[in-house]
Symmetry: C2
Subunit: 104 residues, 2 copies
């Protein structure tokens, strides 16, 4: 189905140390109960065909959808998000890329 009236929050993480992948995934799972989340997916790069346009250098991906920007903003200040940022993403990652989208 075509999703409309949502906010798409996509985040890509590059680890300092690839051995920390299970730890970062554990941290992402801490955020699953945040009540303003519509849907959440925790991922790793897919083994799709290598092409020039493919960016697969990241280690872990996070997709979160919200019903509106207010729900996104609530998520950013939820105590569970603080735990993830301070105890997992901050110490474990060398780079984080966030792309937020609304309906075209």
């Amino acid at each position: 189905m075509q999703l409309k009236n949502i906010v798409v929050h996509q985040v890509y993480f590059w680890l300092n140390n690839k051995a920390d992948l299970p730890k970062l995934v554990e941290g992402l799972n801490v955020m699953v109960p945040i009540t303003s989340i519509r849907d959440i997916h925790i991922g790793i790069p897919a083994a799709t065909e290598e092409r020039d346009v493919i960016e697969n250098s990241y280690d872990v991906s996070l997709l979160v959808t919200f019903n509106n920007i207010a729900d996104h903003d609530h998520y950013q200040v939820d105590p569970l998000h603080d735990i993830f940022r301070d105890d997992y993403a901050g110490p474990l990652c060398k780079r984080v890329m966030v792309l937020d989208s609304v309906d075209a």
Copy 2:
């Protein structure tokens, strides 16, 4: 809800000419009927808070989810995808970034 057993296909487009935004969105909508698609969202950058980690230089975003890699591969060769690539993305975009993810 936590999404599992899916493939997340996220694409970001940078236009040669920002005036072509409606045309590119029209082209993305051509792909909506592709039968192997689970969910699809066509977007533009959200007005979320500016932070160092935010990448909002793209013009249009596409999120497509699939139930498996086979469905993703079918989508890539669907005739509607060819129309989008050849008549819209190819001529209109200077950069395309694709990030595919599966469950962590």
